[in-house]
Each structure stands twice: as C-alpha cells, then as structure tokens.
C-alpha cells in the first residue's frame, strides 16, 4: 500500500537545514505509519540555488530555515498566501514581522508553526499554546540562549574571565566567531518577544524589548553571588504588569530554589507561571542542528495531522526484568584486616566491579560504602546474598541504585 505523498519544500541547507533533511529521511517511515501520508522533500532552495515559485508549486508545506528577514519574509508570506503550511525556526522574522505573517496564515487558512524559533528542543510554544485556555499566564521566565548560559556556567565553575570563557565556548562550537547577537542579549530578546506574544496576546516587537548582555560580567560578580547563595544567568522575563506587559532580558542572580538556577551549560529552559498551575518548567539542549531539526520535524508532523489523543494500538514487546544498574552498597562490618579484600573478591566473582569506596572505622566496627560500575541486577543481588552470609558483616547490606547522566 502506498500512501499519498506530503511534499515538503525546504528553504536553506545550513546546519539545521541539512540536519532536517537527514532526520526527515530517517523518520519518514515512522511518520507515514502514524499519519497515513508519506513525507518527502520536494526540493531544497538555498541563497544561491533554486527558484522559489517553482518549489512552492511542488510543495504542500514550506520549511523555512534561511534565517533573517530578507528574503525569508517574502518567501513565508508568499507560501502562506498561496495556501501552504509553513514551519519556520526564524526568530528574527517572527519578532519583527510577527503580526504580518500571522495575518497571512489566517488569511491563507493554513498553519504556521515555529517551535524551533525559541528554545531548541524545549517545546515552550506548544505547551504555552495548550496551557493558555485552561490557565491565565502571569509570567514567563526563560534561559533562551545556550551560548551565554554556557559561558556563565563556565565562569562560575572555573573562575574564568568572560573573555576566557567566550574563547572556550567558541572553541567548543557553542559560540560563533562573531558572538554579538548572543552575548548582547539580542537573540534572547527576539525569543522573549515571541513568547510574550503567545503568553499575553500582546504584539511585542523586538525593538520594544529592553535587553542587556553578559559582556560586562566579571568573575568577581559571580564569586560574590556565590557567597550569597545565588547563581548568575541571562534571564528573559515577560510579565503582565499594571494592565500592560513588560519584556526584558538581563543578567540576573537567582536564588538556589528558583527552577532556572540549576539549568547549566548550553541548555535552555522556560518557566511558565500561572495561579492555576503554579509553574511549569521545561528544559533541554538549546541549540545544535539536530535538536532544532527535531523541533522543526515535530512541527511538520503536527501540520500533517493534529496530535492524536490516543496512542496507536499496542505492539507486543517483551518486558525485560533483569537489567543493568549502577549500585550503591553499604555494609556494616567488623573492623579487622582483610575485610575489604574479601568483599572485593566476592563482588569480583559475580563480575561486580567497584567504582568508588569509602571506609570508615567506628571502634570495633567499620562501614564500607561503595558505588559499583553498571552490572546486571541478578549478578549484583547474588553477590549481596553471598556478602550477607559472611560472619564479619554485622547488618543486612543496604542497596540503592545510582543513575548517571548518559551523555
């Protein structure tokens, strides 16, 4: 059985564009199975190659990943007015000409989706749109620029100066050769304008957002803040106030209990506050071609078919019960020579390998607190069973799992 095609015209073939083309190919089968339409690239237009009018004719949906306002604005307007859905990750376009493109989409009776424009893989736009009807949003706080968050995180962790941390970010690929848009806060300001539009229905343009960057932050500021229990982030805020809205981007200290205080490295996060929900915080990688491409592809699928309320019928799959974990093991033992060696030997016989160990004497007794490398639970349990029978083990062994970040 062959499904009808769903033809996607791609504008732009840079980092995100090429990642999108790859991801689309990889996921086309799964999407066809779910949606009943076969997504396919109808063509790729770059600044130097291809004819837009021609590509438009052959497309049901346009993915705009050129960036900037010119010629993206013209292309997007023509696509929408021509009755094509548009998915874009273009924050400049939306923060400077948002009402114009929203109007064009409304007139064209088509969808305009832009999850990739704001916070990488973090689905802030969707969650906000779907939260809105049930809750009155009062405030949105965001860390919406991964470059600056990476720099500030490094400054806090290593005591580096701003210049040193920026250079490192550039070497790591987290900052561009010309980092101006990021470090001045302008990139974050554009994103906050878009979030404010969605949260409050106010047509906030980029030039109405006051923003301040991180270029003048010193290692001293961060050290002092740390003494006061604060962490420093570049925070975008949008809030209802005095019958209007205020939208700002600025470096800010956060108390440790703020949900954004623990967002580190090149991550993005958005906190949505409303009396009914208290708050929802969403976080994830902020940039990167593949991550933005995946947000864009999510939008494409949503334009093909509304998100289903039901999962598809279940598929028979085995339930695996014996899997690998890293374990913590706490033993109360008699404090005499050779105890640790014997414990280690028994663990080793079951292929359990010790990652770290702390031993503390307590008069006659000692405590062994160990963390293991990952091992099948059945093997670890067998080892613990053997250990619990040793005469020098004074109390039942205590076992707790340990979970690490895997990337």
């Amino acid at each position: 059985m062959t499904s009808d095609p769903f033809r996607i015209g791609l504008l732009g073939h840079g980092t995100v564009g090429s990642a999108f083309a790859e991801l689309l190919e990889e996921r086309a089968g799964a999407i066809e199975a779910e949606v009943g339409l076969r997504p396919e690239l109808s063509g790729v237009l770059t600044r130097s190659q291809g004819d837009f009018g021609d590509l438009l004719e052959r497309s049901d949906l346009i993915v705009e990943l050129i960036g900037g306002t010119d010629p993206a604005r013209d292309y997007v307007l023509r696509a929408l007015e021509g009755g094509r859905h548009v998915v874009t990750a273009n924050k400049q376009l939306l923060s400077q000409h948002g009402e114009e493109v929203f109007d064009a989409a409304r007139r064209g009776g088509v969808q305009l989706r832009f999850e990739g424009a704001v916070a990488g893989v973090v689905p802030a736009i969707r969650v906000m749109a779907e939260t809105l009807a049930a809750a009155h949003i009062e405030r949105v706080h965001g860390i919406v620029n991964g470059t600056t968050n990476y720099i500030l995180t490094q400054m806090a962790a290593t005591g580096a100066s701003y210049d040193e941390a920026l250079r490192e970010a550039q070497e790591m690929g987290y900052a561009e050769a010309d980092p101006t848009e990021d470090v001045t806060g302008k990139d974050a300001a554009a994103k906050m304008a878009i979030l404010a539009r969605l949260a409050f229905g106010a047509a906030v343009r980029l030039d109405q957002v006051s923003y301040e960057g991180i270029e003048r932050i010193t290692a001293d500021d961060i050290a002092y803040a740390s003494e006061l229990g604060l962490s420093l982030k570049l925070i975008g805020s949008a809030e209802r106030i005095n019958g209007g809205v205020a939208v700002h981007v600025h470096p800010a200290f956060l108390y440790a209990d703020h949900p954004l205080a623990s967002v580190n490295g090149a991550f993005n996060a958005v906190t949505i506050e409303s009396p009914a929900i208290t708050e929802i915080t969403l976080s994830g990688p902020g940039a990167g071609g593949i991550q933005t491409a995946s947000a864009v592809l999510g939008d494409v699928v949503s334009a093909m078919i509304p998100p289903p309320s039901l999962p598809p019928p279940a598929v028979e799959q085995p339930i695996v019960t014996d899997i690998e974990f890293s374990f913590y093991l706490h033993l109360e033992v008699a404090d005499r020579p050779g105890v640790l060696a014997q414990v280690a030997e028994i663990l080793g016989m079951q292929d359990v390998s010790i990652r770290s160990v702390v031993q503390k004497g307590l008069g006659e007794e000692a405590r062994l607190v160990m963390v293991m490398h990952p091992v099948l639970e059945s093997k670890f349990r067998a080892a613990v069973d053997l250990l619990s029978r040793l005469d020098f083990v004074r109390e039942p062994p205590r076992v707790i799992r340990v979970i690490e970040e895997t990337f």
Copy 2:
C-alpha cells in the same frame, strides 16, 4: 451572540473534582472566546448521588475523577462506547485496563485524554505524544510522586528520619493518613506503566512493573550519598532494552548533573531521552487539587478543539518599561568611617531599601556588596547615579538584577 453549549458531565466531587468545577466556571468565558463553544457542567455524579445513564445523556464529554477501577471502568467504557469524549486523571484505571479503554475510545471514534493521571501539571503526556513522531524515545525517567519526593527532600535538608519526615508530610497535607500507595512506590509504578505505554507502544500493566518504595531509606544513606555528591530520589524508569522494554520504580542516587537531581519538594518531573532531541525535562507541582484540575481542564479544551497553530489576533496592550526588580549593587569605596551610612542614606532617599550587605576591607579600599528589596528600576538607577558621583566611590557601581521564587 451566544455560542452553542459544550456539556461536561463530572464524575466525582472530591478535592480535584470540586477544584475542577470552580476552575471551569472561572475560565468558561476565556474558553468560549477561544473555542467558540460555551463549556458548562451538565451535572455532577458522586458515589452516593446521581444516575450515570441520565448524566451521560446530557453530556458531550465525561470528566472522570472518581478514581479506582470500580465503578470508574464501567462508566468510562460506557461513555466512550456511547460516543462521548472522556477526560480522566485515573492512573489505576489506565495502568490496569489501559488497552480496554483505548480500544473503546477507538471504537467510539472519540477522544480519551489523561494528562492529569501522570504528573500533576507537568504536561508529560502531551509532550510525549507530540515528540513521538519526530523522535524515537529511548528512555523516560521520572519523579512522578510528590509525596515521596517531599519526604526525601526533607530528610536530606534536615537530617530527619523517614518516620519524622513522613509525619511532617502528613501534617503539611503532602501525605495521606494512609500513605501506603505513595511510599511503597505503587502510585509511581502505575504512572510509569502509562508513560511506558505511550513512549514505546508496549502494553505494560501495573503488575509488570517492579517497584520498591522509600520506607527503608535511612538518614544515614542520604548523608553518605551527600558525601559522594549524590542526591536520593524515588525514580521511575522506562527504557528500551534488548528488543523489549524495562519499567522500574526504585530509590536511586543521582549525580548532581542529572536533570532530576535538583527537583525538590512536592514537585514532579519527567525526562524524555531520544538521540534526536538528547533530552527534554518537564517539571512542576506534582499534586494538589487545583494543579490536577488545571491539567484536566487543559484536556477538556483540547477535546473541544485541536490546539491551534496560530495565536489569536493581538490585543493592544501597553508595553511597561519601568518595573520593580530586586537589585545587587557592588561598590568599590574608600575604607573610611561613615561610608556605609552615607550610601544607605542616598539609597533611602530614593526609597531603595537594603536587604543584605557584605562589607570587606581591602587595605585603603573596601567593597560593599548589597542586595536590595524590590524597587522601581528608575528609582534605583537614580540612586546609583547619585552614588557614582560620591568622591569615595572609586569605580563605576556594578548592578545586576536578582530574581526570587515568588510562591
């Protein structure tokens, strides 16, 4: 102009049910404006009052908040087979009879939504459903029980024993008089079965989830973990492994850089891992009548109309530029008597009130590092301008905003 009514039959009038009825009344106008249908309660059925068949006749959608499997299962099946949408927050029903109710919804051609069943206000179900098409989910980790997270957070913060922390949680209303379902991990296991069903399409029943609770956790375990840089949480995990799926709930230590390590108190959080997106973490209050009611109302609105891709036309609203912030101020001053008094006086003249101050001598010079109570930015800037002109202020004052949690 009067819109057509959209009639909602409510089953259950406990904490969540009554919060839902209130929230619906409060938000009915906003929902009508957005959706074009006027949501109204067609009736409320409790265990002791009302006739289900009669209520069903008068309803377009049934909100099931009775909990448990009997009579909830019968009601939900009858509603779905009778062609009514159903919104439920019933984790027992979905984790024990999920396939049966999903099939009934499919046969009835209606929607079944259950965001409130898993993680309070955290929109894990939506995000997962909408992420699925574009990304292959490999693993889901969750803190999906607020009661146990509150208890573990208190044990870590105060050194309290499990019994003490449980008692406090009961006094604070975070734990029930009979906390068994929560502290044994059974509640979390039901939620993880639902998440695994959605993430992997595997029909995982509650009795296939291995779970372990927090009853045997000691203050010692937590203290040792803290020495090792770990924090202890009750973690649900669902992952693809060896061609099958594994679903577990158990106490686990997390390294500090894990996105769930900083989720404290009665909060819930879910981390979705996929190669294409790396990870998305969602967090927010886990329980509470109003929060669950708001998740339920969000589902009701989604059943009334698919989430729009476009925001409604913008409404004219003033952009407010001068707003209150709490500020951090760093002054390098000459170290001589009366300096702090004079600084404080100038701040006071502009209604800027000092919240905390650290003064450090450095030979001839001193540093004043202050955090202010919230004040209008214009007033603070005026005060800083005056301060910068004082002869004993040696360098331009350094200013950074401070953001606190507001609830």
